[in-house]
Symmetry: C2
Subunit: 199 residues, 2 copies
Amino acid sequence: MARPSKIDKDLAVSEAMQAIWSDGYAATSVKAMSERLGITRSSYYNAFGSQEALFKAALTSYAALSPDHVLAEIDDDEPILPLITVMFKTICRVRAEDRHHRGCMIVNALAELAGSHDELGPFLEDWILQSAARLEHLLTIAIQNGELPADTDAHAKALALQASLLGLNTLSKALHSEAELWITAKASLKGLGLFAEAN
Amino acid sequence: MARPSKIDKDLAVSEAMQAIWSDGYAATSVKAMSERLGITRSSYYNAFGSQEALFKAALTSYAALSPDHVLAEIDDDEPILPLITVMFKTICRVRAEDRHHRGCMIVNALAELAGSHDELGPFLEDWILQSAARLEHLLTIAIQNGELPADTDAHAKALALQASLLGLNTLSKALHSEAELWITAKASLKGLGLFAEAN
DNA sequence: TTCATTTTGTACATATATGGACAAAACCAG
DNA sequence: CTGGTTTTGTCCATATATGTACAAAATGAA
């Protein structure tokens, strides 16, 4: 039907994701990414539209692989707390195993772009607020499940949990030991009364 | 003795600090900052040496005004926990009052530069780890003071507290209400058993 | 009023970066 | 093998960005 593309689009998005994760949004310019992908800027614009558009595609690609993806998949009738604990444990492991200690791409992007990029700033702010809202929903379920006391303040705990997530991911850029990260995560979870070993 | 400078150096550093805080390190290029300060790049290099050097000067200028500066000034014989609580409350207030919701300049810089900037990355990582060590020291004092139980795990709590600090500052870029931020901070502090109203 | 000092302004060479315009190329269906 | 479609490659004009080099300017001290 038409001239074939030199590149595999999904693969390119995935490579862009890795680049943005490593170097941030500003450093992965259209010129730089085009050269990295082995295409011209002309093809870049044709395939992805803009740097912002490719960033959003890369974000989706990242989100699917990110440890906190499990939050989106929890069924309302399964135990919540063990999954949250496992998620934190997973974060500690993957952040420590990352040789370049890149932390979380979304948290990095939020720090870089919120307040300075007109389109992506608000987009990322929304993302985080929705993540917090999702946590609050899950904690509410956990209260109904009897996993948490009935008088638990789900709103406050969800926000504190979200802050812990952001903090743990940021901290992982400076603190590279999985054991130390897990000490951090465990203390946060236990403090909030949300720690639960998996069976 | 010599030709006078067009600018006040301290003032320039302070203005650079504001610019970096707003736009990040990459966006405050030598060219951009020179123009903002009304000097030539030639003068910039002469006065500050390099972008990295000006960044470090700006960081010092920022640190002196930052809410967590109180941590450096605590005497070992005064109550620790109320000061930590006040610090968190102050963070919530100043982050919410900042019309541009820039969060914490150091946390932003850590997210932007750790892992990608050869000199400033490790510099910022050190900064955060030393902040965590300072917190651990203060919690140790608090145990000796009797403010905390003798069996308190100062190391774990200090790390969790540091993560909360990082997370709260990052969250403040998306969550702009002082009340909501304070709910977050209070839940974190109470969870860690570190909440203490001031007298 | 000369001299030493430091800052300033201009120039240079080079690299990065943007986004659109337009022709040529490569494919497939009919 | 022709025609429709989409991608590619090249060109354009312009802006940003770096770091150094060197002469000119502005000061205070001797």
